[in-house]
């Protein structure tokens, strides 16, 4: 009951809901860059939303399934194919033993999520299965996938197994099959080429010059190639402070926009450090994390100011939609 890695892709890692509760020991959260996409992928295959799946970056892997599996692919459209046939996103997909999953060019976004019904049986380290590359822990031996790896995928949950049988009832017939149903499109946002990311003022917003504050909201930034799961280093207008002043290190979080003395902002992401000492000009709202995480290196983005009330409205709206989807699945598809 496993899955062989024929080609690893550019950066394919195992991520779950994240490593929670160790930030005060300096242990980062890790987890998916696009947490909404991983949660939706997991719900589609009858997993808990925070189960471990694969985060696939830009150039996807080639995988061979050594057993029947129930899968879902969400997030970026990386031209996924099964035995050469294009696969749909955002639906449960029943595959037969021996099928091969491959990827082509990135059509929209840059991070896809592959959930296996029944999850992945890799060890839990400090409460999580997420890969933490820099510390070499979690996931598969603390590293990205390599050719020749065998992913321990125990196979579908009982309800996932039933759906698999419904979809692929006969022994012969197609290599794979999917459902007619799919989630509320609000949970699978279309990925814009140069998104507008909504942001709250950060704690040190007032330390920046009025010209830099205006530039932050009005001008466009580019995600430089020096970006990774830790953060996006942005190129754009140089953001200057009114006066040089050392900042005492304090906690940061996913989406914190901090500005080192060079004036080039850094947006902190899934592998962000727990604390930082650079002034925080802004904080991306949770509801826009998906859009943020899908901007590829070289991609552009803009920031738009919103209030905390708006941020919470969109947070709760997204959460409500997700919960409704989860209830619907339990009622109609995974009894």
């Amino acid at each position: 009951m496993s899955c062989s890695v024929l080609r690893p892709g550019l950066l394919t890692t195992i991520q779950d809901g994240g490593r929670r509760g160790y930030r005060q020991a300096g242990v980062i959260v890790s987890g998916p860059m696009d947490s909404l996409a991983l949660r939706v992928a997991n719900l589609l295959v009858n997993n808990p939303p925070g189960a471990a799946g694969l985060e696939i970056t830009l150039l996807g892997p080639t995988l061979r399934f050594e057993a029947d599996h129930l899968l879902a692919l969400t997030g970026a459209d990386l031209s996924a194919t099964l035995d050469g046939e294009l696969l749909p996103l955002h639906r449960p997909i029943a595959v037969r033993r021996g099928s091969e999953l491959a990827f082509g060019p990135a059509r929209a976004g840059c991070r896809a999520y592959l959930a296996f019904s029944g999850g992945l049986a890799v060890p839990t380290v400090l409460g999580s299965q997420s890969t933490y590359l820099r510390a070499g822990l979690g996931g598969l031996e603390g590293r990205a996938l390599r050719a020749g790896d065998v992913l321990p995928a125990p196979g579908p949950t009982p309800a996932g197994q039933r759906l698999h049988q419904q979809l692929l009832s006969s022994q012969s017939g197609p290599r794979w099959a999917t459902t007619a149903w799919f989630p509320d499109p609000a949970l699978t946002p279309g990925l814009e080429a140069a998104p507008v990311i909504r942001v709250l003022r950060g704690p040190e917003y007032d330390l920046f010059t009025p010209a830099s504050q205006r530039a932050f909201w009005e001008e466009e930034f580019t995600v430089t190639p020096q970006s990774d799961r830790m953060g996006y280093r942005l190129a754009g207008p140089e953001l200057q402070r009114r006066a040089e002043q050392e900042i005492l290190s304090s906690a940061v979080t996913f989406g914190t926009v901090q500005v080192p003395a060079s004036g080039a902002p850094i947006v902190l992401l899934a592998d962000h450090q727990t604390t930082g000492g650079y002034p925080r000009i802004g904080q991306v709202i949770t509801a826009d994390f998906s859009h943020l995480a899908q901007v590829p290196p070289g991609g552009r983005l803009r920031f738009q100011e919103v209030s905390l009330t708006e941020a919470h409205y969109w947070y709760l709206h997204q959460e409500k939609t997700l919960q409704q989807f989860q209830r619907g699945l339990a009622l109609f598809h995974y009894q």
């Binding site: 930030r23 005060q24 020991a25 300096g26 400090l126 005492l248 914190t256 919470h312 709760l316």
Partner: protein, 247 residues
């Protein structure tokens, strides 16, 4: 966004402000002190003893304690304003803060450091910046007993108080893409030890062979907030010897 609050049962006034839509910062004044540190430790202990529904975790720092919360749970599935609810919970907690604990008489942890050369590529730069001879930089750095104020930036990375102000130097304008584990650095009036290879902007003056982060250990961080430590200068030969025995 800053809201003045009645002072807790400590000496430092406290402000509350949001860090995005899922975290709140409690700010205890603007300067580092042992009194502020003890207040923050007391707030942390109080959150451990009386967590409110929707509390995820918290991170203490020099003058702040940042509380991460789940807006969905805190708002009771969207029925109430999450920030208002969290603020109320924290205000209550601050009002009922227990007596501040006395500073712990924990043993001093010794951290052996090989200074300068390839181990401390910024020692000469720091020496020029401060106008001190390299030997005096090392002497002033190894003299004090430091207090571990917080762990952060990377797993097991201690932020220390007690550095001689004559060693203060600004961060690097452009952070290094990769700093090795064990590197000992200075940034502003702070000194610390890198626990993992990470990008970083501190001025590096030396390196220790000790492991600060051991994920397989029951307590993954060698150091904890509230502990005291001292740097002990060692030679390159001693560094190599200790590194072999650390494994």
């Amino acid at each position: 966004m800053d809201q003045p609050l009645p002072p807790p049962s400590g000496p430092t006034p406290v402000q509350l402000y949001p860090l995005g839509d899922a975290a709140v910062v409690l700010q205890f004044g603007g300067s580092i002190s042992e009194a502020t540190h003890r207040t923050i430790q007391a707030v942390g202990a109080s959150l451990d003893a009386h967590p409110f529904p929707g509390l995820l975790e918290y991170v203490p720092a020099f003058t702040t304690l940042t509380v991460y919360y789940d807006p969905w749970v805190v708002s009771q599935a969207g029925q109430q304003d999450p920030y208002q609810r969290v603020s109320e919970s924290l205000r209550q907690l601050l009002h009922q803060l227990p007596e501040l604990p006395a500073p712990d008489a924990t043993p001093v942890v010794e951290i052996p450091v090989c200074y300068g050369g390839a181990f401390g590529p910024d020692l000469d730069l720091l020496s020029r910046y401060t106008g001190l001879a390299a030997a005096d930089v090392i002497r002033l750095h190894t003299e004090p007993e430091y207090l571990v104020y917080m762990i952060g930036f990377a797993p097991g990375f201690p932020y220390l108080g007690g550095m001689n102000e004559r060693l203060a130097a600004p961060r690097k304008t452009q952070p290094r893409p990769l700093v090795p584990a064990g590197a000992v650095g200075i940034a502003g009036r702070q000194t610390g030890i890198y626990s993992l290879p990470t990008p970083g902007g501190w001025q590096l003056i030396g390196r220790t062979p000790r492991r600060l982060f051991t994920p397989e250990a029951a307590s993954p961080s060698l150091l904890q907030a509230g502990q005291r430590l001292r740097f002990v200068p060692i030679s390159e030969a001693e560094y190599q010897h200790l590194q072999e025995h650390e494994l």
